[in-house]
């Protein structure tokens, strides 16, 4: 039985620009572990120093949300937000709230963090679908990002990737109908990360493969097919994040699903993006899927979550701005393993005394200016029409100077242009030189902005940029990080 009217109405993804070359990783680690050279193929996505689960999820959601210069208006329809990750930057401060603010979503939404296992991403899909189905929300946004940390030289360091995906669930213009889900909750501890621990601790792989994946996943998949009345033969795309070579195909076979229907797990180009990975693969599948096709998603993690979708005619109009394919194409090879270690806090780098400045954040100010800092919302003077950032009480236009006439105006989705710039080797930066410049917007407004995802010698006056929500600073003394927007060359 299908569930007409409930399902995915839009989707998006995000992959960081840098692609760490596994050959370089292997070359750096082979002295200690000669066997690691077997992992030295392909590349993995590598988040910039200023990206985390939240910022990547924000990018993926922007990829999914309707295009339009004014996010405050165009995103007002969203009334629920599920943020899934096991690498959330805050243990106690709602991470979904940061995502919502960065997206300028209305405050009247139900937002939740979903975490705790590698199936959290798919759990979020199910929760969102069920919420819409139950009438609890009209448009539920799922955003998931992960930046998993491993010790230097671990096999997982080669296998993982950084990335994010996002979906909107609704009951109008459904592009992939939600046919049903089935979950198993089994405390099978293949790995764990205890409170306050930086790294995962894992058990023997053969046991995970044979007792875990091979027994738990087929049980959940079979139950889902039975429950939804869909035959195994009808599954057109089978999605199962799994690091064991070919095990996904063997599991498909165990469930009578054609192994040829198993989706590429993007291991060669992306790596496994934690709990977001099933969602990244789902977005990738939706970029290929034809109306009428069925997509089965399974995610393993202390049990298994499975969900089944049926693609509709609306899929053509539901395509994301970039999608997995678009972000895959936007890539820069990184061969410097030292840089990887530095970006991931795996190496104590000399930072110089300039890095000692206290990054304590005045939270009262952060709250008072929250639309500015999280949403990149400035002002537009109602009297003269001048857009300006930040929003102030007196208009900056020398021929206007109207008082208290500025209405909130978002710059987040506007394209900017570099007026002036420098690459600064003096100021402390995790990725020197620090690039910044005056970014101007055609609609009016400008500000001196950090520039990220940029290579030395590639920008000049006139370079076009888009704005991206990033980590501004870390406050290591207090375990805080602050966010703001930066310009990224288009």
């Amino acid at each position: 039985m299908t569930q007409p009217g409930v399902g995915i109405t839009a989707f998006g993804a995000y992959l960081p620009r840098l692609r760490l070359q596994r050959k370089a990783m292997a070359a750096a680690n082979a002295w200690a572990n000669p066997g690691i050279v077997a992992q030295g193929k392909g590349e993995r996505t590598m988040a910039n120093w200023d990206e985390d689960a939240v910022t990547m999820a924000v990018e993926a959601a922007r990829d999914a949300l309707p295009a339009g210069p004014d996010p405050i208006k165009s995103r007002h329809f969203v009334d629920a937000l599920f943020f899934a990750s096991t690498t959330m930057p805050f243990a106690d401060r709602q991470n979904a709230g940061i995502v919502a603010s960065a997206l300028s979503l209305p405050e009247e939404i139900h937002s939740i963090d979903i975490s705790g296992s590698q199936r959290a991403g798919v759990s979020a899909l199910i929760a969102a679908a069920e919420k819409v189905k139950a009438g609890g929300a009209k448009a539920a946004l799922v955003a998931s990002g992960d930046r998993r940390k491993t010790r230097a030289g671990a096999v997982q360091e080669f296998q993982y990737g950084d990335g994010a995906a996002s979906f909107i669930f609704g009951n109008e213009n459904v592009a992939a109908r939600f046919l049903g889900s089935h979950s198993l909750s089994i405390d099978f501890v293949d790995h764990f990360r205890g409170e306050g621990e930086e790294f995962d601790y894992g058990w023997e792989e053969r046991w995970i493969r044979d007792e875990g994946f091979s027994k738990i996943v087929p049980r959940a998949v079979r139950a889902l097919l039975t429950k939804t009345g869909v035959s195994a033969a009808a599954v057109d795309h089978f999605i199962l994040p799994c690091l064991f070579p070919k095990l996904d195909q063997q599991i498909a076979k165990m469930c009578d699903i054609d192994p040829a229907k198993v989706r590429d797990n993007l291991g060669a180009t992306v790596g496994e993006c934690g709990t977001s990975h099933a969602l990244v693969m789902l977005a990738h599948a939706l970029e290929d899927a034809k109306p009428g096709q069925k997509i089965l998603v399974a995610a393993f993690g202390q049990g298994c979550d499975t969900v089944l979708f049926e693609v509709t005619d609306a899929i053509a109009k539901a395509q994301p701005k970039n999608g997995v394919k678009g972000w895959l194409a936007r890539r820069k090879e990184e061969t410097n393993y030292m840089k990887w270690l530095a970006f991931n806090g795996l190496l104590e780098m000399e930072k110089g005394m300039r890095a000692e400045k206290d990054n304590k954040t005045a939270l009262t100010v952060t709250y008072r200016k929250r639309d500015m800092l999280f949403g990149l919302v400035g002002g537009k003077c109602e009297k003269c029409g001048t857009a300006q950032f930040p929003r102030t009480r007196i208009c900056v236009n020398p021929n206007c100077r109207a008082v208290d006439e500025q209405k909130p105006f978002s710059f987040a989705e506007l394209q900017g242009k570099i007026l002036s710039w420098s690459a600064d080797y003096l100021t402390y930066s995790q990725d020197p030189p620090s690039h910044y410049g005056m970014v101007t917007f055609e609609e009016g407004g400008r500000f001196l902005s950090d520039i990220t995802d940029v290579d030395i010698g590639t920008i000049d006056t006139g370079t076009k940029v888009r704005m991206s929500f990033r980590i501004k600073d870390f406050d290591d003394r207090r375990g805080f990080r602050r966010y703001f927007w930066k310009a990224v060359p288009v």
Binding site: V365, L426, R446, L448, K472
Partner: protein
């Protein structure tokens, strides 16, 4: 109707410490060094000083807040001491306070003293600070050289100057200042450099290399001012008077409004026009004998030549390369070495510039003395191109 400051106040005496890495002295001792020279030059006793202004920028690194550090260091007779801070233009601000007090008739003799002790941070370059509670949450992660370097890209784009030509012109700006600084025993940096050295120096903030940046120095400078009448009564000859004192501050236009193209200093154009009006100068390129400008970075000096209306817009590169601003040129600039080589103890710099103009006008500049200068101009700027404080002061012989 305001009548302006022209010829209402005379400089009675000036002093300036040796600038540089003064490992031997703190700010308190530097203040005394500059003051003793100024008091001797003026011929006054400390008991005759009726009001004082102290300028420092970075209170965490220098003497702390308030006017008491100056009062205590000089054992001033319990007079009013006001501490002023206006970024790198703080020294000019102290001078303005003292000059206006005398012009107002509030006192007969006033002191302006600026000081900065920068070499107690443990690292090179200007110290980093916390600019309030909001800006750190969104302001670009930059330093002074990177902020001023912004001028270069915008200037190139506007005037169609190639990277190489601009780099060579700003290299010449620094070569010229090093040449001048080598003749100044009080300068921080006294070694000449070649253009090749400037072009090949390590990059600090694209396109500014090491030699495009001024010295970060310890130092103090002081001025004692009075009325021309009192100066004469005290037996002073060759009286140097203040012709103009102007200050223009950004109001957010450059940083927030798209009418500014990033290639020039909006405030400097305003302050210099006002200063020329106040001093009665019609053709600055012909009438200004010499100047000290705020060459915190070579690119700053280059664009400032246009903002002070000495070079026509877009022509500074040519004037610089033609030697127009060299010691032997038409309008010698940074004859004492400038911020580049004399050094930049922030709170003292505005007063240091005036010190050189004062010495030159009195024919006391030693090996770097220019021939018969009449009018000296100082340009002292604080902040960044997109948000700044700009001071322009003009002094000259009384009646000039």
């Amino acid at each position: 109707m305001a009548t302006g400051i022209k010829d209402k106040v005379a400089i009675l005496g000036m002093g300036c410490s040796k600038f540089g890495e003064r490992w031997d002295m703190g700010a308190e001792e530097l203040m005394v060094e500059a003051y003793l020279e100024a008091a001797k030059d003026a011929g006054v006793e400390t008991s005759q000083i009726q009001a004082a202004w102290l300028s420092t920028h970075i209170d965490e690194q220098s003497v702390g807040k308030g006017g008491t550090p100056l009062s205590v260091a000089l054992r001033l007779p319990n007079i009013a001491v006001t501490r002023v801070e206006n970024f790198c233009a703080s020294g000019s601000e102290a001078f303005r306070g003292a000059v206006y007090a005398v012009a107002a008739g509030a006192c007969d003799i006033a002191l302006a003293l600026g000081v900065e002790k920068l070499k107690d941070t443990g690292y090179g370059g200007l110290p980093t600070g916390q600019p309030g509670t909001l800006l750190p949450q969104w302001g670009a992660n930059g330093s002074a050289p990177g902020n001023f370097a912004q001028l270069a890209s915008a200037y190139r784009a506007k005037h169609g100057v190639s990277k190489q030509d601009l780099k060579r012109a700003i290299a010449h700006v620094s070569v010229k200042s090093h040449e001048n600084g080598a003749k100044n025993p009080k300068a921080h940096l006294q070694k000449p450099i070649t253009e090749e050295m400037a072009l090949n120096a390590p990059m600090i903030a694209e396109p500014l290399g090491l030699f495009d940046c001024c010295g970060v120095s310890d130092g103090a400078a002081a001025a004692i001012v009075t009325t021309p009448e009192i100066a004469r009564a005290m037996g002073k000859k060759d009286i140097i008077t203040v012709k103009a004192l102007q200050l223009a501050l950004s109001n957010g236009l450059e940083s927030m409004h798209n009418s500014w193209d990033g290639s020039y200093f909006h405030t400097a154009r305003i302050a210099s026009k006002r200063a020329y009006d106040e001093a009665g100068i019609k053709k600055p390129r012909d009438e200004i004998s010499m100047m000290e400008v705020h060459d915190c970075f070579s690119i700053t000096e280059l664009v400032t030549m246009e903002d002070l209306f000495i070079s026509d817009e877009g022509r500074a590169v040519h004037d610089v390369m033609d030697g127009f601003y060299d010691a032997g040129g038409k309008v010698p600039c940074q004859i004492d070495g400038g911020l580049k080589c004399f050094g930049h103890p922030i709170g003292a710099s505005g007063l240091r510039m005036l010190y050189e103009m004062y010495l030159q006008l009195q024919g006391r500049a030693g090996a770097r003395q220019l021939k018969n200068p009449k009018i000296g101009m100082t340009h002292n700027l604080g902040g960044a191109p997109s948000m700044n404080v700009c001071s322009v002061a003009i002094i000259g012989a009384q009646g000039a």
